[in-house]
Symmetry: C2
Amino acid sequence: MTLIKPFRELCAEHGIAVTHQRQVLYEVMQGMDGHPSPEEIYARVKRKIPSISLATVYKNIHLFVESGVLREVSLHHGSQRLEMNAEEHHHLVCSKCKSIEDIDESSLGALPKRRKLADGFLVERYSVDVIGICAKCQ
Amino acid sequence: MTLIKPFRELCAEHGIAVTHQRQVLYEVMQGMDGHPSPEEIYARVKRKIPSISLATVYKNIHLFVESGVLREVSLHHGSQRLEMNAEEHHHLVCSKCKSIEDIDESSLGALPKRRKLADGFLVERYSVDVIGICAKCQ
DNA sequence: ATTTCTGCAAAACCTTTGCAAGCCG
DNA sequence: CGGCTTGCAAAGGTTTTGCAGAAAT
């Protein structure tokens, strides 16, 4: 019934310690969908461990992302970033140092030109992040 | 020598008022490249208008993004967002309400499989945001 | 003249950090 | 035990807001 065994294995694979908080955090996240914020995850975990602190949730989300157990929606830079390049282009984003480098659209090859992809969503443009390791970080 | 005339036209097109702060902000940004944060932009503008306030910079960046004069690197959600879907997939992001919906990888057609794109960048994966207007916001 | 914008200061968020007590291996 | 983790509280960083005076149309 529980997911405790797989979680212990996951921790072993990634070399992280098993604590009660991490187990419950992981189980709760398995039961969520969409793209929750740390606060939303905290609110849910708090129902199972009322004494848990938000700092613990942050620390463990960070650990999970770092070790590859969890993924974030788009690499998080702490503050908003503005685009100074008016040309159509995409990005090379380094998953270690989080640097962003522009690449022009033609480097990627064609993306589908359909204007409608799903249930009435009207496409304006594509934004492609190529995520990987930059030359400096290798 | 100055960019004042094009900026006045731009404002007219987008229906926003021309102020000295906006003009200088726009000119300064034209001279930057990369993906600066509001703080970095503020630091530069301050060299030309020492009395400008950070709040003004934030308000005008927001206005420029809203009216289409400027673009942000990736749509900014205020807080980190975690991915609960372990499958390979991409996103439909609404530029009005900022909702995020998953679409699976096959909906997009193939992306190039090259492992190296530029000067030693090692590709891990692609993250594609299809930006547009969702059904609800139309 | 009216509406909108600026600068300031305070507030509201979001996230990280330091530390004493407790848990894991 | 020894080291890592937790919860708390405080600090740090980013962004928004309210308001009185100034500027724009």
